[in-house]
């Protein structure tokens, strides 16, 4: 019953186009970002996901924790999403973790990252690098092929 209520509430929010006053900070964009990362993470890893975002903000923690278990450290997590500038040496080194970024230049220069979610020409983009998907044993659904690039 609780789940049904959640679904109904969620649907009503999805379709409510108007609002009276925005009393809380508008976080729909962050919520959609978390869903996109959620889809990518669940398609890339078959086990339960523990997400680590270096320098995570309070707002990000609140939104992301609705669909992810948030790891407090890099070591205890298996999916690392680097959104801000974070020293490379402070990221843990473990073959069983997946690294994702929001910076295309970082994706090109650092082969630790298997993909990126970033903006280009005012439009959001997703890119996965084919060789790094293979290296990390990631098998993405066919519908993701359009986001895969040979580099």
């Amino acid at each position: 019953m609780k789940i049904l209520s959640c679904v109904l509430i969620f649907l009503s929010f999805s379709y409510a186009q108007s609002y009276t006053f925005l009393l809380n900070k508008y976080d729909k964009e962050l919520e959609l970002e978390s869903k996109i990362i959620g889809k990518i993470a669940s398609s890339s890893l078959s086990k339960d996901i523990v997400l680590f975002i270096p320098k995570i903000t309070e707002a990000e923690r609140n939104i992301y924790s609705k669909i992810f278990t948030i790891g407090l450290t890099c070591e205890e997590s298996n999916f690392i999403f680097v959104k801000k500038n974070f020293p490379e040496e402070n990221l843990c080194k473990n073959a069983n973790k997946l690294y994702f970024t929001n910076n295309y230049k970082k994706l090109l220069s650092n082969n630790r990252f298997f993909g990126a979610f970033f903006w280009s020409k005012s439009r959001p983009n997703i890119v996965f690098i084919k060789s790094r998907l293979v290296k990390n044993n990631i098998s993405l659904p066919n519908s993701y092929k359009q986001f895969v690039e040979d580099l």
Binding site: T20, L23, I126, Q146
Partner: protein, 642 residues
């Protein structure tokens, strides 16, 4: 539980956004709504989203200002488009505060943004928020009635180079370049450069009022995490239009200005609750005008003798202003209370580089200071508390203490502002917002220089106003009514002999009706109507509104808008009365997107050629005359992104 929620979101995702493409589209659409910084507690808010600015082809700030409720956008004596509150017409107005990101850009001299930023291009602008009501509590220490916040595009979200060029049927053109990039080291930057060559002239008494303008704008926004650096520059060179000429038609005249600023801010702590910022602003203004029939440079005219003895026929001045600011702001949050404390300091300095006038007899007067008041430091302490009683009721209490430290004859003063308010949302479809505000507007350097010689000691204007807004929101519709009631003491009025404080209380009240209807996912209609009632004679439209429609289909974007300002009569009982017809400003435009990176747009403005008109006085004391503000214009824009 998290697993269930994750599965639930995945399930819903499959139902309604089953592909990453759909989610990306939804993410992009949401980003274009531009609601991320809206602060309902600041006042009654209108948002011009990124999507609306694009669909409506708003190319410059004036395009947005001319449709705002409760104000008129007219051309002033210098040919600049300048906003005035409904029912009034002011040459320069200090009621409006304009922010480019965190930096307040109004003139240090006049408190008006019309000269430097009134026609700012919007190519580098992401979205605009307009707040009606005193909002300076958390926005610094310049007070006002209308607060316009312009947010520039985020380099992180652009990552592109954009070229845009615009031509109009009267040979005006505008070109701009925007480049943005996010670097691997965490820095991102946005560079903007723009140049305009605007042709404009109006006919009066079989002579031309020349108003050509050349302007350049440069802007840099650099960011790394919570550190932001903004650098802005603009350079305006224009003809003087009527300038200060007593017969409204000068022999010739020129107005030049340059505005430079740098603004740095950084947030600290995990929740970014501590913010520190500083800015430095230099503003230069050069003016020269010749007129055989005389110039109304009021501070130079001695009214104790026949004015003809002191009226100048040539005038030039070169002025420099410096403004520096610093602030620290700390937010304290608990589950139902949010307290903001802030300390601001602002220092303004005014330097006379050169001033020279020649009277009708050819006698030259050099470097005359109009008065000695040229330095002002403002210290402000702000307390802002928002208390959430329950999920339906929010209470707001703001207070601000300002100390003005002035040199020369103008007295130092301590001012207090406060605002109490409530936001009540009993249902998802209905909301009420109400504020009672006590605020003030201090005299500017310009007010004191052009003060009546009978009393140079211009006092601060005091405002008490009460506003209430009711909103009804349904699935695709939103309807709001906003009531305002304003009382002003010591109103600063520009009389024929200079600025004076009006000796009685001025009252005004009115209503704004606003209705938005989302016709379909891609098409929207907005209707707005307002009226005001004032205790004083009106010299401008006091009723107005607009209806606009915008949308997109396939590769096309389109809009149309009709902006209405009512007919009015100035001093109907006076022999010198004048009647001005209603204005119907019809605008229509369309954009064809050849692909995602190339577009071409066509726009027609004021197609019915029924522009607003501005009242001016010809001669001294003179007769009243009304002159058209805007011409009919057709423009073609080409945009390339790479």
């Amino acid at each position: 539980m998290k697993k269930i929620m994750f599965l639930l979101f995945t399930f819903i995702g499959v139902l309604y956004a089953d592909s990453l493409n759909n989610l990306l589209k939804e993410y992009e659409d949401n980003s274009q709504k531009s609601l991320q910084t809206v602060n309902e507690k600041l006042g009654h808010v209108l948002v011009y989203s990124q999507k609306e600015l694009k669909l409506m082809q708003h190319n410059k700030l004036g395009d947005v200002l001319k449709e705002l409720p409760l104000l008129n956008l007219n051309r002033n004596r210098y040919g600049l488009t300048s906003p005035s509150l409904a029912g009034t017409k002011t040459t320069v107005s200090g009621f409006f505060r304009l922010f480019v990101n965190d930096h307040e850009v109004s003139s240090i001299h006049t408190q008006s943004f019309a000269l430097s930023w009134g026609e700012m291009p919007l190519d580098f602008v992401d979205y605009i928020e307009v707040y009606y009501g005193e909002s300076s509590f958390s926005l610094g220490n310049e007070t006002g009635i209308y607060f316009i916040r312009v947010y520039t595009k985020s380099a992180l979200k652009e990552n592109s180079t954009q070229l845009k060029t615009l031509y109009t049927d009267n040979n005006s053109f505008s070109q701009s370049l925007t480049h943005s990039e996010s670097l691997e080291n965490g820095w991102s930057y946005l560079l903007f450069f723009n140049q305009n060559n605007i042709k404009n002239e109006m006919e009066y008494k079989n002579e031309l009022l020349k108003n050509d303008m050349k302007s350049r704008y440069f802007y840099v926004d650099m960011k790394k995490d919570t550190l932001g650096i903004n650098i802005g520059f603009n350079d305006i060179k224009k003809e003087s239009y009527m300038g200060l000429s007593l017969d409204l038609v000068p022999n010739n005249g020129e107005l030049n200005s340059q505005d430079y600023f740098i603004n740095v801010s950084k947030s600290f702590l995990d929740d970014d609750s501590l913010k520190i910022g500083a800015s430095y602003n230099i503003y230069k203004r050069e003016y020269k005008e010749d007129n055989d029939e005389g110039l109304g440079v009021l501070p130079l005219i001695d009214f104790t003798q026949p004015p003809i003895n002191t009226i100048p026929k040539k005038y030039k001045e070169n002025l420099k202003y410096i403004k520096s600011t610093g602030y620290v702001t700390k937010n304290f949050k608990t589950s139902n209370n949010q307290l903001l404390t802030s300390f601001h300091i602002k220092k303004k300095e005014y330097k006379l580089i050169n001033r020279e006038s020649t009277n009708l007899f050819g006698q030259v007067n050099s470097n005359k200071k109009f008065n000695d008041f040229n330095k002002e430091t403002i210290y402000s302490f702000i307390l802002e508390d928002n208390y959430t009683v329950n999920d339906k009721l929010l209470l707001i209490a703001n207070s601000k203490f300002d100390k003005y430290d002035r040199n020369a004859y103008l007295k130092d003063s301590d001012e207090t502002m406060y605002k109490v308010g409530a936001i009540y949302t009993p249902t998802e479809n209905f909301g009420l917002k109400t504020f009672y505000t006590k605020t003030y507007l201090p005299p500017s350097f310009y007010n004191t220089e052009f003060a009546s010689s009978l009393n140079k000691d211009i006092k601060t204007q005091k405002y008490n106003f009460y506003t209430t807004e009711a909103v009804f929101a349904f699935n695709k519709s939103k309807f709001s009514i906003t009531y305002h009631n304003v009382e002003i003491e010591d109103f600063i009025y520009f009389a024929p002999i200079g600025f004076i404080n009006v000796d009685h209380k001025i009252k005004t009240e009115g209503l704004i009706f606003d209705y938005k209807y989302q016709i379909s996912k891609n098409n929207k209609m907005v209707f707005n109507y307002y009226f005001t009632k004032s205790s004083e004679d009106i010299n401008n439209s006091d009723k107005g509104g607009y209806i606009k429609f915008m949308g997109n289909y396939s590769k096309f974007e389109y809009f149309s808008s009709l902006i209405y300002k009512n007919k009015f009569e100035f001093r109907p009982e006076d022999s010198n009365h004048i009647s001005v017809d209603a204005s119907y400003n019809l605008n229509v435009g369309a954009t064809y997107n050849y692909n995602k990176d190339i577009s071409i747009s066509l726009k027609g403005e004021n197609l019915l050629d029924k522009s607003t008109k501005s009242l001016f006085t010809d001669g001294f004391p003179g007769t009243n005359t009304a002159i058209k503000d805007f011409d009919r214009t057709v423009s073609l824009t080409f945009k390339l992104v790479f």
